[in-house]
Subunit: 328 residues, 3 copies
C-alpha cells in the first residue's frame, strides 16, 4: 500500500457494501490533498477505485457473437437498401454509448459501406438518443500494461476511428434522432449532411472531464462557426439546441420530431438516385482540399488526449463521474 | 455503324420529323442497357444524338462583330462611370447563359477593368435573370478532335475563366438581379460583396448533370458556410432563396426587388469614392492568404470536371436534358 | 521651405489663431492639386500640419508613473481574482483609445497573465466605450528619423502587439462593454469567447483612413463570416450592431445592457473553476492549427500598413481627420 492516508485506505478497501458511504465522504479536495502520493501511486489508486466502482455496477453486457455473416455486428444494425447503407448504433439502453467494440465495428462498417454499391451512407441511432459519446467504462478495463497502456491503446483506437471518417469516400449523412454527446458531435464536422430532429442536442463537455477536443473538431468547428462560437462549445461545454446547431452550420436542417423520419428518408431516397460517381467524386474533391490537414489534426488531437487521460485532472474527473453515478 | 442495336439505329437516323417520337421512346434505361457498345462507340452516339437534337433547334444566334473598338463586346455591355466599371451579361433572351464567346469576353472585360482607373468593378445581368450558368450548347459543337478535345478545350476555357476571378486585383461586386445557376453561383465565393434582390435564387445542380463543383466552390463554400450546408448545395442540388444565401454568407445583403437597383447603386457610388489604393491593396491582402490554394483548387476542379464530361453519367444526363427540351 | 505653393505657405504658418480659417479653406482637392511637390516635400508638409494641429489641442495627458510595483499600469487596470485575470483599458475620457504606451502595457499585461496562475483572462474597457482603436495622436509625435521612422516603429509595435494575442496561451475572453473600433475589433478574431452588451457596435473604417486591415482580420474575418460579409466590414466600413456581429460569428452572445455585467461575470466565474490545464491545452490545440499562418498574416498586414501610412492617401485622410476635429 503506497500510503497510509485515510482516503487511500478507503480506496483499497473492497467497496461493497460500504461504497455509498465512501462515495459520500470522498470529496474532491481530499484527492488533491494527497501531497505525499507520487504520480505512479496516484495512477494505481485510480485503477483501484475505478475497478471497485465498476465491479459494483455488475457485469458488462455481453452478447453472443453471431457467426458466419461478415455483415453481422453486435453493437450496430447495418442494412443496405435503395442505394443507401445505414449504420445504426444499437445500444439503446446505454444511449448508444460507444464501447471499444463499437468503435471497432463502426470502423469495419464504414469500410464495408465505402466499398459496397450504395450511393450514400447514413449514420443514426436506435431509440431516443443518437449517441452519448465515448463509454467511460472504456477507461475501467485496465490491461496488464497499466493505465499508460490503456491510454495509448485508446488513443490508437480513436485515431483509427476518426481516420475512417476522414477517408470515407462517399457522401456521409447524419440522421440525428436525439441527443448527441462528445465524439458523436465532433465527428459531425466530417459529415456531408446532418439532419436533426428538434429534440436533438449537441454537447461536448470535454473540459468538465479534464479532456480536450477530438474528431478534428479543433479544426472543423472554428472553420464552420468561427472561434468565438467553437470555443464556447469545445472549451466551455455549451450545450446547443438543434436550432442553435443549425445556425452555427453544424446541422444542415432541423425537422419537427413527429415528421422527422418520414421527411428525412424521403429526401435520402431521392439523393440516392443521383449519379453515383458524380456524388462520390464531388465529395472527394471537397474533402481533398482539407484531407492532409485533417489527418495532421487528428494525430495532434489524439496525442494530446492521451496525455490528458494520464493527467490528474482527467483521472480525478472520471473518478468523480463514477462516484456521482454510484451515489444515485 | 457501330452496332445494329435498335436504339442506335434510331440515333443515327436523321431526327426530324421523327424526333419527338424518338425522344418519347428513348428511356434512360435503354441507354444503360447497351451492353455491347464500347466506350468509343458510346461517345460517337453522344455526338450523333446531340448534333441531331441541336440541329432541330435551328441555327445558333450569330451576331455580326462590331469592329474598331476594343471595349465593344457581343455578349456583354461594359461601361465605366463614377469610378465604377460595370460588366453586364447581355443575353437576356437566353437568361444570360454563358457561351464560349461570353467566357472569353468576360475574361477580356475583367482584364480591362483590372487595368482601368475605376475603383470597383460590378458584375450583373440584363433582364430578369442574373445568369443561368454554362450554356449546354457549349457541349454540342463537337470539334474535329472529337469529344475528348471538346472536353479538354472546355476545361482550359473554364480554368482561365476562374483564374481571371481569382487574380482580379480590385474589389468585385456582384449585383444579383435575378436567379443565378451553376458557375455564376459558385464564382460568388470569389467576390468581395454580393448584393441580391429578394427575387434571386442560387442553384448549383451539378450532380443532376453528372458533373462536379467548380469556381473554387469546393473550397470557398465549405469555408463560408460549413461542410453540412455546402454539400447540400454542391452535392444534393439544394436551391437557395436570397435570404437563405444571405444567412449562409454567400450573399452580403438582400433588398426588396422594387428598390434593389436604387439602393444598391447608391451604395456602390459611395464605395467608389473611397481611397482607390487602400481598397485594392486591402482586397489583395485578403485574397493573398488564399491565392495559391485557390489556384490549386481551380486546377483540381477542372481536371475532375474534364473527366466527368467524358463519363457516361454526364453524357447521359446532358442527352437527357436535350431530350427533355425537345419534348417541350 | 520646399515650395511657394499657396497651400504650403498656409501649412507652415503657425496655425493659431488662424487655424480654423485654414481648415475651412483647405479642401481635399487642394492637396491633390500640388503637382509640383515631391513625395518628400509632401511628407514634410504632413509633419508640419499635424504638428501644428496637435499643438493647438494642448498638451497630451501625462500621468506620473507609479513606482515599485510591476503590476501597476498607467493606462490599464489589471486584477486577478477568482482565477480570472482582468485587463481593463482605462482611458475612459479618451474612449480607451490605444496610445503607444497602452500598446506596450497590454503586451506586458498579457505576458504576466499568461504566466500567472489564473485560468482565464478577460479584456474589457472602463466607462461607456470598449475601445476606440488606435489613438491617431500616435501619428503626430514625429521622431528625428522623420515620418518613415514613425511608420516603421509603429509597424513594429503593432506586430508585437498582435503577436502577443496570437501566442497567448490561455482562454482569452472579450467583455465588450460598449462600442469597439479598429484594431480592438479585428483582434476579436483571436479571442476564444466574446460577450457583448447590446449597446456595443463593431466598426473597422480602415479604407476611410486610407489604411488596410490588421489584427489578422484579413484571415480571421473571411474564415469566420465568409468573404462577402468580411469585405463589407474591412473594405467598405460597414458598422455592425452587436446582434449583427453575433450572427456573423464575431460575437459569441449578446446581453441586455442592464444585466450585462451580472450575467457575464456569473458565467466567467463558473468557467474559471474548470480544469486549468484542460482549458489551456485545448485552446493551444485549436490555435496550433492556425498559428504559423496567423504569424505570417500578421507580418504581411503590418508590412502593407507601413506602406499605407507613408502613402498620400493615408496622410491626406489623417490630416482630414484632424482638420475635422479642429473644426469642431
Amino acid at each position: 500500500m503506497p500510503s497510509s492516508n485515510r482516503l487511500l485506505r478507503v480506496l483499497v478497501t473492497p467497496p461493497k457494501p460500504g461504497m455509498l458511504d465512501f462515495v459520500n465522504k470522498a470529496k474532491w479536495d481530499a484527492w488533491k490533498s494527497i501531497g505525499n502520493v507520487s504520480q505512479d501511486e496516484a495512477k494505481q489508486d485510480y485503477v483501484n477505485l475505478i475497478s471497485s466502482l465498476v465491479a459494483a455496477e455488475g457485469p458488462a453486457q455481453v452478447v453472443a457473437k453471431p457467426t458466419g455473416s461478415s455483415a453481422a455486428f453486435e453493437t450496430l444494425l447495418v442494412t443496405t437498401e435503395d442505394n443507401i447503407t445505414t449504420i445504426r448504433l444499437n445500444r439503446p439502453t446505454k444511449k448508444n454509448a460507444i464501447t471499444v467494440e463499437m468503435y471497432n465495428e463502426i470502423i469495419k462498417a464504414l469500410e464495408l459501406a465505402g466499398n459496397d454499391d450504395s450511393v450514400i451512407t447514413v449514420l443514426t441511432g436506435s431509440g431516443d438518443f443518437y449517441c452519448s459519446g465515448n463509454d467511460l467504462n472504456n477507461f475501467t478495463k485496465i490491461p496488464e500494461g497499466g493505465i499508460e497502456k490503456l491510454a495509448r491503446d485508446s488513443g490508437e483506437l480513436l485515431r483509427g476511428f476518426v481516420k475512417a471518417f476522414i477517408d470515407f469516400p462517399k457522401p456521409l449523412i447524419g440522421v440525428i434522432n436525439g441527443p448527441a454527446v462528445g465524439v458523436s458531435v465532433t465527428l459531425l464536422g466530417l459529415f456531408e449532411v446532418v439532419y436533426a430532429t428538434e429534440r436533438a442536442t449537441f454537447h461536448t463537455p470535454f473540459s468538465q472531464l479534464g479532456q480536450s477536443p477530438e474528431g478534428c473538431s479543433s479544426y472543423t468547428f472554428p472553420k464552420m462557426m468561427g472561434a468565438a462560437k467553437a470555443s464556447e462549445m469545445l472549451l466551455f461545454n455549451k450545450k446547443l439546441t438543434a436550432t442553435e446547431a443549425c445556425q452555427r452550420g453544424l446541422v444542415t436542417e432541423v425537422f419537427p420530431d413527429s415528421s422527422f423520419q418520414t421527411e428525412v428518408w424521403t429526401r435520402l431516397k431521392a439523393y440516392a438516385q443521383l449519379p453515383r460517381n458524380s456524388l462520390a467524386l464531388s465529395k472527394q474533391l471537397m474533402r481533398g482540399v482539407d484531407k492532409e490537414r485533417l489527418h495532421a489534426v487528428n494525430n495532434q488531437e489524439v496525442e494530446q488526449l492521451v496525455e490528458r487521460w494520464l493527467s490528474d485532472e482527467c483521472m480525478n474527473a472520471i473518478m468523480s463521474f463514477f462516484q456521482a453515478k454510484a451515489r444515485l
